[in-house]
């Protein structure tokens, strides 16, 4: 009876999974190939697919089945699948349909105003709409917190990275904030002593960039029989595990941005492609969370592809692709180009060393916004104080301050920590991979990613959501997230000492 209930649940969630996969493809299409005039119909299609899946998830039958499936003789994957089903059910039913609709409307209205307020640097213009979004986010956080037994902020994080806890993240981020000022000073001094790297001369034609990107994707392990590379305004990894669609954007004056962008998205793509094939379209077969997802893109981009080893491999390829830039594409110069540190105001342009400061700032502020300790009146000032404290920079315009990211304005609170948790997990996982397979760096230096990918398949990708991120990291590396490994990686890379 209860095992039968579980089987019915699997069928039900397979349907939701197929609807989600269909929506994923429609999202890719919208970003990569859809003509402008298709937006209205596409929004309608996506909204309806979403409503149908939501109704399946929140239907009384689902609740009955989840109750009846308790205590059954399930194996560990089935049990984990059932847990994920429950988590999704709780998230979906914590808020009433009317509330979700109000939230969707408030977010759309706010995002729309933000699109003009940001370039104008006019926080006041959007503050009212943001207040409405924040009020609803706080209400949602409280409702979910009660159902999940978490703090309100944790309940929000749980949507993006299940199991993320303030008690674990705060000390890690505080330690990094304490480490950064002196370290950053030493890195900048060290960099200055070396002088500026040689810049390669463009233009770098788009077709050439694309061909090189596809070549490197293949080298890293992207399977073009199960995926594509296309162009979109905002690069992303979408599609489904059996048909992974990554996108990038090109700038003819820069050889580097699209290249590292493609490599980053390839890291995401490898994770999706490596998810357990036996659990397609089931909750347990999905990627674990956004922090772990980001760890996979950053492991490939930051740990592997910005390494000295990979620069050695990439150098002759670049020289062949863009002749006449021998000095710029010399392995050592290339490594310096790819590891320049420049404290700045904008998160998305930040380097590996200063990026966490941007995230820590947002993490602290959004907790205060959700708890009510910080009002929106005080947000720009608090932002600017934080930037001064963390990176020593004076924000002159909210355009380069609290208006820069879309996240809050479209209601995403609790997402930001994923970026830096990803970077830290990436350092720890990469170190563990090398400890297990010491040949990995040399292989990367030959353009051979197979040993690394094999380790990732076994220790991360293939586990889907059968374990929590903490369990996956502990199992793979022998200990919970330890930010010291990230600092050690930075010290070695940017100061040449361990």
């Amino acid at each position: 009876m209860s095992s039968n209930a579980y089987q019915v649940l699997e069928q039900r969630f397979a349907r939701m999974g197929a609807l989600n996969e269909a929506a994923g493809m429609l999202h890719w299409d919208m970003a990569a190939v859809m003509p402008e005039g298709g937006h209205g119909a596409r929004a309608e299609q996506l909204a309806i697919l979403n409503v149908i899946a939501h109704e399946m998830l929140t239907a009384p039958e689902t609740a009955d089945l989840l109750e009846n499936a308790q205590g059954a003789g399930l194996d560990s994957w089935q049990a984990a699948n059932l847990n994920e089903m429950r988590r999704l059910y709780v998230h979906a039913t914590a808020l009433s349909p009317a509330f979700v609709e109000a939230m969707t409307r408030a977010r759309a209205a706010c995002e729309k105003v933000w699109r003009t307020a940001r370039p104008a640097g006019d926080f006041k213009a959007v503050q009212g709409k943001l207040q409405a979004v924040l009020d609803l986010a706080r209400e949602a956080a409280a409702a979910k917190a009660e159902k999940l037994g978490l703090s309100p902020y944790e309940a929000l994080m749980d949507e993006y990275e299940p199991g993320a806890r303030v008690a674990e993240i705060t000390p890690i981020f505080d330690a990094y904030a304490a480490f950064l000022p002196e370290f950053l000073g030493r890195v900048l001094e060290h960099q200055k002593a070396k002088g500026a790297p040689v810049l390669p001369q463009g233009p770098f034609p788009i077709a050439t960039q694309k061909a090189l990107g596809e070549k490197l994707m293949g080298i890293i392990g992207f399977d073009f029989n199960h995926g594509r590379l296309d162009t979109s305004a905002h690069p992303f990894c979408g599609g489904t595990p059996d048909d992974v669609r990554i996108t990038t954007r090109y700038d003819e004056s820069s050889f580097a941005d699209a290249l590292m962008g493609v490599i980053h998205e390839t890291g995401h793509a490898l994770y999706e492609r490596g998810l357990p094939a036996d659990w397609r379209r089931q909750p347990v077969g999905q990627a674990r969370g956004m922090a772990l997802h980001e760890s996979q893109s950053l492991l490939i981009e930051m740990q592997a592809a910005r390494s000295v080893d990979f620069c050695r491999f990439l150098s002759p390829l670049l020289q062949e692709t863009y002749p006449g830039n021998a000095a710029a594409f010399h392995p050592e110069n290339l490594f310096r180009l790819y590891t320049q540190v420049n404290p700045g105001f904008i998160r998305v342009n930040a380097d590996e060393v200063t990026y966490p400061a941007h995230v820590i700032l947002r993490y602290r502020l959004e907790q205060a916004l959700i708890s009510g300790d910080l009002s929106l009146d005080d947000l720009p000032g608090a932002w600017n104080d934080g930037m001064k404290q963390l990176l020593g920079l004076t924000v002159a315009n909210d355009r380069e301050g609290c208006l820069q990211d879309i996240h809050w304005f479209e209601g995403l609170f609790g997402y930001f920590p994923c970026y830096s948790l990803g970077a830290m997990n990436a350092a720890q996982l990469f170190a563990a991979a090398i400890a297990a397979e010491p040949g990995i760096p040399a292989a990367i230096g030959r353009g051979d990613f197979k040993p690394l990918l094999a380790w990732l398949r076994q220790n991360v990708h293939g586990l889907g959501s059968s374990l929590t991120t903490a369990e996956i990291v502990t199992r793979a590396t022998g200990r919970p997230l330890d930010a010291d490994l990230f600092r050690r990686h930075l010290t070695q890379r940017y100061l040449g000492t361990a």
Copy 2:
């Protein structure tokens, strides 16, 4: 109460409509851009979207609502919408889910064997599988016939072209079969007297063909803000009315095939794009049927774009695009190239004059198969006799005979007549358009399709499924389908006399 039931039905069918639109986009993606390895997941997504829509349509609530919506104070479009809902409900509920599943399996199994039997010319190899498909098709026809009050064969046609009746089609087709032999003889003689047209010299680069195709699409009225042109193995028109995706395939040795293919699909696209915007995703907002759909593609391709007027416009464009072929692209020579008549075995390669003979043959044979008057043992012989009688050709191999089309082998009985009904409706509609707007041919000669398109929007496209095909044609042309207009068109075009 009953008007309320109607409103609920509209919401219900809007959901099914969105699922169908999503499936349409996924089909386009599969044909145009999907990597090979995506097939398994895509089949699963499409099957599940289909099951969800089917369950919505056949649910007991739908039956209750359809009953309660009777006799309400609906306007004529709402009433027509309700009629279409009923028709879809009857088709969907006439067969049990178990029967539909058995049919799906039998079709897939048969089609698979056909893919090797056809090139081998081995009808016996596939006869058993085809028998299974035919038996199920006959059972389905009988079940639907009872529910719809039609003959079994008409019940099958009704799926593709609602309202198609044997009593109307048979005399039209018989008259054409009687007209053809002598007419064809005169055309071939007339053609011979003129000598062979000059052939242009290739190659014709694919990028150039594509650019020219897009240019002509724009000239004919395709809105690239609401659609795209892509490449696929089998050209089609897909997507949705707000985002019409057409495809073609290119052959560098032929300038003509892709060009006319693109123009043909553009005709389909204009129909989809012109469907009534107020009724998107409702049954009454959909294209009327496959015969009318084909009339729109053939009106643009055969009536408008293979005309002397259009050849006059196209000639300088082709000369500019592919220099060095002045004689071949002279307007008169171009017209002759585009109106060559060559009786042959293969339907998809047939010219405008002999195409109906291929359709009439299949129409006669499939009626006999469904009624039981013809057994599969006798099919190849009956086919070959028919070809001899209709076109005077002796079939030497079933590969060029009854094995050539996929339709029957994947269970499509009752579809073939749509092609020639489309050609005949196209001639009649085009004549009516010119009668109403005598400037249309001269405008086409200047590359101006606006007057023609305006007439089609008003008299065909914008009507959606609010009327039957017969009603649409009668309203637009003043009389029911009259095949004499098609014969008059052929006589004028191929003998230069009316």
